[in-house]
């Protein structure tokens, strides 16, 4: 697994390729943070916990984290201020905001302050770990990517065509976007909510699981007639595109 080089504010370079994923949890609810740490360590992620905003800022400034999970409301310094401070100092470590507030304007405020993703409490741990993983592997490539390849599946981003084992697969525009997202996160679990947010850009929960229907359509197109299925269902979490 290759990560981008993450540089903390301390100037200490961190090479995630050499080690495992390390994230900072800034959360004043110690029980919640503990449960989160246990859940994330199950997936092999190392966590460091800071119990308030100021401690969190100090820890984040030391650098060396792949993702910061930051609660919105905390004593001493709130999450928004913490992230704004880091961003002003040039720290670009991905941030996942956690909040008990669920209104749209709260989410917008979080993203404006420099957050990269937003999760409303209470959340499923599968949702949390999927989002943390997605953030950690988000790679900022200097040059514009023109091809994505996952196993024998190839996506041409310029020509907007997809081939598997050399056979062209016809996709609707939305199906193309859906597959692109899955391919960019190949090997990771992505939840239904993540797909709805990142592909459709809706931030509500539909009463019926409409995403499942879209996935099964896509699956029929990319997996049907091939010897091994790539689009897997992850129980209790969502989906994963695997080689």
């Amino acid at each position: 697994m290759i990560f981008g080089l993450v540089r903390g504010n301390s100037g200490q370079p961190v090479d995630p390729a050499g080690g495992h994923m390390r994230i900072l949890i800034v959360e004043d609810d110690v029980d919640a943070a503990g449960a989160m740490a246990r859940c994330l360590s199950e997936t092999g992620i190392e966590t460091v916990h800071a119990a308030d905003g100021l401690l969190g800022l100090a820890a984040a400034q030391m650098g060396g984290f792949h993702v910061l999970v930051v609660d919105r409301m905390m004593p001493n310094m709130d999450g928004l201020t913490l992230v704004e401070t880091l961003r002003r100092e040039g720290d670009q470590t991905p941030v996942l905001f956690l909040s008990a507030l669920g209104e749209i304007d709260d989410r917008v405020a979080g993203l404006k302050a420099g957050g990269d993703d937003y999760l409303v409490k209470p959340y499923a741990f599968a949702e949390l770990s999927a989002r943390v993983e997605a953030l950690a592997r988000r790679r900022e490539t200097g040059s514009v990517q023109t091809m994505i390849k996952v196993g024998d599946l190839e996506m041409d981003l310029i020509g907007r065509v997809v081939h598997r084992q050399g056979n062209q697969i016809d996709l609707q525009p939305r199906e193309f976007q859906l597959l692109e997202y899955l391919m960019r996160h190949a090997g990771q679990s992505v939840t239904r909510t993540m797909l709805l947010e990142k592909v459709w850009e809706y931030h509500f929960d539909p009463q019926t699981n409409v995403i499942d229907v879209h996935i099964s359509r896509l699956r029929a197109k990319i997996d049907k007639g091939f010897d091994h299925p790539m689009l897997q269902t992850v129980r209790g979490a969502g989906y994963r595109l695997e080689v």
Binding site: I104, A124, Y202, D205, V213, G236
Partner: protein, 469 residues
């Protein structure tokens, strides 16, 4: 030390009356003072003119006929009804003739100035009466000194009478004003007390208290009816809140009880070393998620309802938004062999929160797909009405909602008998209604195109947004 005045003196109308009275009294004083000065001045100047004329006339007599003629004329005049007083003295100052014994002045004094002095007289009862008089004195050509005066006591008492009348009128005005102020204050005070009683009652928890209108449509009635309207709305929303509280308690109690039972059973079985703990946990998690989903939906609805208007409103093309949501639901329809069609008038514009409106539309479509049998048809239309309002309407060929139930299905947690078999908490349309209201629009439920076999009317649900501007 502060003196505790009776309440009526502390009221605003009374204070305003006092202020008005003060201003009125001040201006009346200036006005009446001017009248006094003008009247008094007129009286003296007339007297002075008469004296000057009398002296001129006497001087004329003297020039023609000498002291003798003057003397005779003075005697004649004194016997007449002219109210003049005379004194003629010779060169040495000895009295020659006249009705006065002595002159109040030595030198010559003439028009335009006169001298004021008093003369005493005796009335028929022998009592002394003081008269005020004004006089002028001239030296005649022969050296004699002539003093002519006029009794001005009558004129003076006239002026005094005017002054007294002015004082009396002023006092009367102030008294009447005070009385009026008290009456008005009492009246206003009573009305205000009625309002106050209601405010205190509501503070004390009696939300049903209302102000009685006097039926005169004045500003107090307006205030009172405004207060009553406000209380009505407050009472309704409190009732709504209580309803939500009850509904949440009711709707969350059973899944929570189920969750608890499942966990307890799993624990007992795990301790006994039997049963499938993992399956029980999966079930418990699902129960918990259902509870949370209900909770979140209720929260979203109440937040929308308590907001003055939906946040983050932008102008957008409703056709685009509908196309996006339609695209999300289209495969679902296809799976259920439902014919789905979107008809949108291009290039319309509405203003609103895209996210909320998309969610509302998703909820309507969700219901339509849920309640339309296989082989049915769902149609989503976006168009502008003649009124300028923009409507998103969804028709389906399901059984529809009987007319008497239509207002009810919009309420929170209301689920009709034949929908119980379907998943959902009965919050979908409540959210749509809340979204409509937060945009100044409304939700309409009608008959649809009917089921294919004619067993039901189908349903038409329309989210109507107000026209721009």
């Amino acid at each position: 030390m502060a003196i505790a005045l009776p309440r009526v003196f502390r009221t605003t109308p009374f204070r305003l009356t006092l202020l008005f009275l003060t201003v009125f009294a001040a201006s009346a004083s200036i006005f009446l003072g001017y009248i006094y000065v003008a009247t008094a001045g007129e009286v003296t100047s007339r007297a002075d003119q008469a004296i000057t004329q009398e002296i001129q006339s006497l001087t004329g007599v003297y020039r023609q006929g000498g002291v003798k003629a003057l003397n005779r004329s003075m005697v004649e005049r004194a016997a007449g009804d002219r109210p003049f007083l005379y004194l003629l003295r010779d060169k040495t100052g000895q009295k020659v003739t006249g009705s006065l014994e002595a002159s109040p002045v030595e030198g010559v004094i003439g028009a335009p100035s006169s001298v004021n002095f008093n003369v005493t007289d005796t009335d028929p009862d022998g009592a002394e009466i003081r008269h005020s008089a004004r006089g002028q004195q001239v030296r005649l050509d022969g050296g004699e000194i002539l003093f002519v005066a006029a009794d001005v006591s009558a004129a003076e008492s006239f002026v005094l009478e005017i002054l007294r009348a002015i004082w009396g009128a002023g006092a009367l005005v102030i008294l009447l004003g005070l009385a009026g102020g008290i009456v008005i204050s009492r009246n206003v005070n009573e009305t205000m007390a009625g309002l106050n009683r209601v405010v205190l009652a509501v503070q004390g928890g009696h939300i049903a208290a209302r102000v009685k209108l006097r039926g005169v449509n004045d500003e107090f009635d307006e205030l009172a009816s405004g207060l009553n309207d406000m209380l009505d709305r407050l009472e309704r929303s409190m009732g709504g809140l209580r309803h939500v509280g009850d509904a949440i308690a009711h709707d969350l109690r059973s899944p929570l009880s189920r969750l608890r039972a499942r966990l307890e059973l799993a624990l007992i079985e795990a301790e006994a070393g039997k049963g499938n703990a993992q399956a029980a946990l999966v079930q418990a998690l699902e129960d918990a998620d259902a509870v949370l989903a209900t909770f979140n939906a209720v929260l979203a609805i109440t937040r929308l309802q308590s907001a003055v208007e939906a946040p983050d409103q932008v102008q957008f093309d409703p056709g685009d938004l509908a196309a996006g949501v339609a695209e999300l639901y289209e495969p679902l329809c296809e799976d259920k062999a439902i014919e789905f069609k979107l008809e949108a008038t291009p290039a319309l514009a509405v203003r609103g929160n895209r996210e909320f409106i998309a969610q509302a539309l998703a909820n309507i479509l969700d219901n339509a797909v849920k309640y339309t049998p296989q082989g049915g048809a769902v149609r989503l239309r976006v168009r502008r009405r003649a009124s300028g309002e923009v409507e998103f309407s969804v028709t389906d060929t399901g059984l529809g909602v009987p007319e008497p139930d239509r207002p009810r299905v919009v309420q929170r947690f209301v689920r009709l008998e034949n929908s119980r078999s379907q998943p959902g908490a009965g919050l979908g349309l409540s959210l749509v209604a809340a979204v409509a209201e937060a945009h100044g629009g409304r939700l309409e439920l009608d008959e649809g195109p009917g089921t294919l076999d004619g067993s039901g009317p189908g349903l038409r649900v329309a989210l109507v947004l107000p026209r721009l501007g």
